[in-house]
Symmetry: D2
Subunit: 307 residues, 4 copies
């Protein structure tokens, strides 16, 4: 029997970084978690433990901190691109880099005081390959939303295991995880050049685009969830994705994962009480799970964007 | 050897309830988790398994749902009192009830649409005893705050195991858990009578007081955290408690538990970079933990309030 | 702009099932969490909310429970195949099913008494398509292992951000997540026929193979981790995968994800103490993350096995 | 209005320590999490930020690591006592110390190789006061057990909110959290003297007693859970506590917290199937929660042991 090495990558996960920018007495904070993954000439390290091609994960962590000092953090997509391009450009043995960042929000309560915004987490996954291609996927997760009416569910298949009653009024609740792919990877290699100067200046157009797209997509998701009279969570999911793609020409695909967080009306009839969708039990498990993508007809090939 | 039964209680924990109030097309939601604990004549059930004195935890859960339908939820303290008094009043074998409620916030995005407020959780712990005494402790937890400057730490004991360098500028970050005791248990038994009619009407004065106190204490905690130039987290904690007690005459004691969520400046000198409190590593463990209470000189005895 | 529906699937996640088999006074328990995901003719439900092609997730849950009663649970791979084939075979609108199961272990303490084995979780992901193809991936996760010596790390790339010192003796600790693909999907359609009779009888040969492979792979992973004098975690990972493939001819590929759970020797020199790899700080984040696959040269195409 | 400082304490929480003892090629590991809490002359630090009485939490952490090197870890109770006594003895401003330790088990797979025992966590909480008193509470948590029969529940109060049907056969499952108080605090001050020499030598009798008691209590808990034909979880809880006290003369009190992890038989009658306690839904929330203590008639006063 002969065996061989398959796909592989390695890196430092969840490097926690808080970056403070001081504008006189007024401070700004960026709070992120950075995960880097590199791949390349890794046969030797797997087969014999020869580390000559390995940039230590500790060095990757140091690079994250040093780059934050040198370039600022700015939009997480731009910071991730900067890191990914650096690893590929600086190490011949590294052919491909994937950088994933989560950003946690803070709201201002004073010139240098903040309270954690406990809502959704902003995310990105960026790839850069030695062939020059870059991909950027932005996203959010843990955006928990609920409609207390305006949701129906009926007309489904009834098989021998179906006991669910159809309903014309139910709570619809979910925790949205969304990821959207940018048509133009902020970049190509030309942008990469300027990007090596500064994450905030560089590609400053794309950088501000990331912020604008984030705000816009988030608003579309919330609005479409609230606006859509829903006959199924799938319909709501598609409406959310379609709204985002329509509003943001710079994105070409969006993928959504939405648990159906069941809220069951409690049967209060044993206590002589009616319950006209007023009192609900919020269940933990099991839950429905709806996953789906919406993309432009002419979306370019995704390549490694979703890996 | 002879052994005996010690302190005990039993109940249903984490009954998840979402209550929808419909005002025409405009809905309001209350999202809570209720934990009830009863004690009383429980010798027999422990020694022989005779359940004659036991109100099943399943019935306690049902009561929570039925009371939400019958009385509404209103302020969680009032709802908890209603439940606690019911259990003690209705069952001779139950002498004491403890009801704990957590409330999760939602922000409106449409007439019947909401997005989870991922910030702090509002809490209460209420006791009612057959002797007529009630206690009410309100609170919040997971209020995560950060000052990016305005915090020093020096002048401490230096022993043979001390390597910490004094600092005149550091990040101060914590997740506030606060609980405040109401001087007047909203109630005494007279309130209990009206309370049995409706959680929202009943004790409506006290109920609105709970909301007002919550808003006020929260504001005091945030303000004092931001305002206090801190020489130690203990000083900040005390200032937060003192501010709340000063602003809210109806509360007589506040207890705070505040982890010191360490943010360490990263040493960037190996990379030829300075780091003037700009780039920080946010550590998980270990963390400092500061716990302390502030109370009025004339605070009445707490009794079982904190149990 | 025109948009379209992309890849999608939906189902019921984390249906928690405990199955008790009574052999007279002696009982056996199976404790599993089942997640089903279906795909097929789902254009209409996404675009218009027409549910005519949708088998409700509630019915999927019911099917899981009914099948446990009717066929027993047996090996999780066989139970998952049974479910996947049922959904595809019974509903014309469902073209493909994915079933994922986690199994939690229990150790016997009496004829009908058990204590939870808190160690690793056994897993499987099974696919079945209307074209007749099935794939079976078995696995485990949360297998936490540690070598207190026998691990070195040196000879790596040193770049401008490298501060790590080489070492010839360190702790190597990780939480193994492994998934192995079976060359023969237990089945093809002929097995499927018998499988429809009983999860335990049916495909009984394959079913017992799953158990045997699980035991064997787990042993190989533990042994190779303990045996390998490690020059890098990648080397250990490859050795573990190679050992499993060598021992188990029925599997053709294995994928491993292994965090490098860093244990840092504490600098005790300020206290006049040496520390010859005796006292360690076990860090939480960041951590290294090594991901890699090992496969046979002649492994058949994976198809949708890893989706 | 005048306010004052109430009860307070501060310290370093969750210092993660792995201690390796090398006996030639054979290694032994201790994996613990230590939380220290000190109290004393803390008025000034709270009121003015004067840290003169404050031993930094960072120094407490260092002490934990240095003591592990100097004295070994041994039984966690002995190590906790050593630390608690050190803080009180060495700092005039510190009047009282509380040390809490969790220990995570590892099973051997080679001379220096181990696999995490994912079962219960061993715990202790130790207090030492400047007045010379010490208390030791040992424990365990997350010991998850299940009886698939031998449990009944009937004869309970039926009120207007009771819908539960009585049963003579149900699954009884719980996650045991137990804490037992040692009658003799391993110590008094005479032991403290020797303890200051070495955690393993010192009080070596008591140290080995802790290990013996742990093994014995754990066995009693498992056996009593398995042996007791249960008419209520309270009865089982009491039987478990009584068994431990009877077997271990050195402990005088035990406190147990046991969630009733509900397993509901699934109604399969819509599918033409019976379900004679064979197929269960394992629910997450809500759950029953039974808390109770068992103690000797002549148990000495607990003092601050449970704080």
């Amino acid at each position: 029997m002969t065996v061989k090495l398959g796909a592989n990558r390695y890196g430092k996960a969840e490097t926690r970084l808080v970056h403070v920018v001081r504008q006189g007495p007024v401070h700004h904070v960026k709070d992120i978690s950075v995960s880097t993954s590199l791949s390349g000439d890794m046969e030797a390290v797997h087969l014999t433990g020869d580390n000559a091609a390995v940039l230590p994960t500790d060095s990757q962590k140091n690079t994250v901190y040093a780059f934050a000092r040198r370039h600022g953090v700015g939009q997480i997509e731009a910071f991730a691109l900067l890191l990914a391009r650096h690893f590929v450009a600086s190490q011949p043995s590294i052919h491909h880099a994937r950088v994933e960042i989560e950003e946690y929000g803070w709201n201002r309560t004073g010139p240098h005081s903040f309270v954690r915004d406990g809502g959704e987490v902003r995310t990105c996954v960026v790839h850069h390959d030695e062939d020059g291609r870059s991909t950027v996927v932005s996203g959010l997760k843990d955006l928990v939303v609920l409609n207390s009416t305006g949701s129906e569910f009926h007309g489904y298949i009834v098989d021998e295991y179906t006991t669910l009653e159809p309903t014309t009024d139910r709570i619809l609740a979910t925790a949205v995880a969304a990821q959207w792919r940018h048509a133009d990877a902020a970049g190509s290699d030309s942008a990469s050049d300027s990007a090596s100067d500064s994450a905030s200046d560089s590609a400053s157009d794309s950088a501000s685009d990331y912020a604008k797209a984030y705000t816009e997509v988030r608003r579309c998701l919330l609005d479409a969830f609230a606006d859509t009279h829903s006959l199924s969570l799938q319909q709501t999911l598609y409406a959310m994705g379609e709204r985002a793609l329509t509003a943001c020409p710079e994105i070409c695909e969006i993928r959504l994962a939405m648990p159906n967080k069941h809220h069951f009306p409690v049967d209060l009839s044993p206590f002589g009480l009616d319950n006209d969708n007023e009192v609900f039990f919020a269940a933990d498990r099991p839950y429905g799970l709806i996953e789906g993508g919406v993309l432009r007809e002419d979306a370019p090939d995704a390549g490694f964007a979703w890996e």
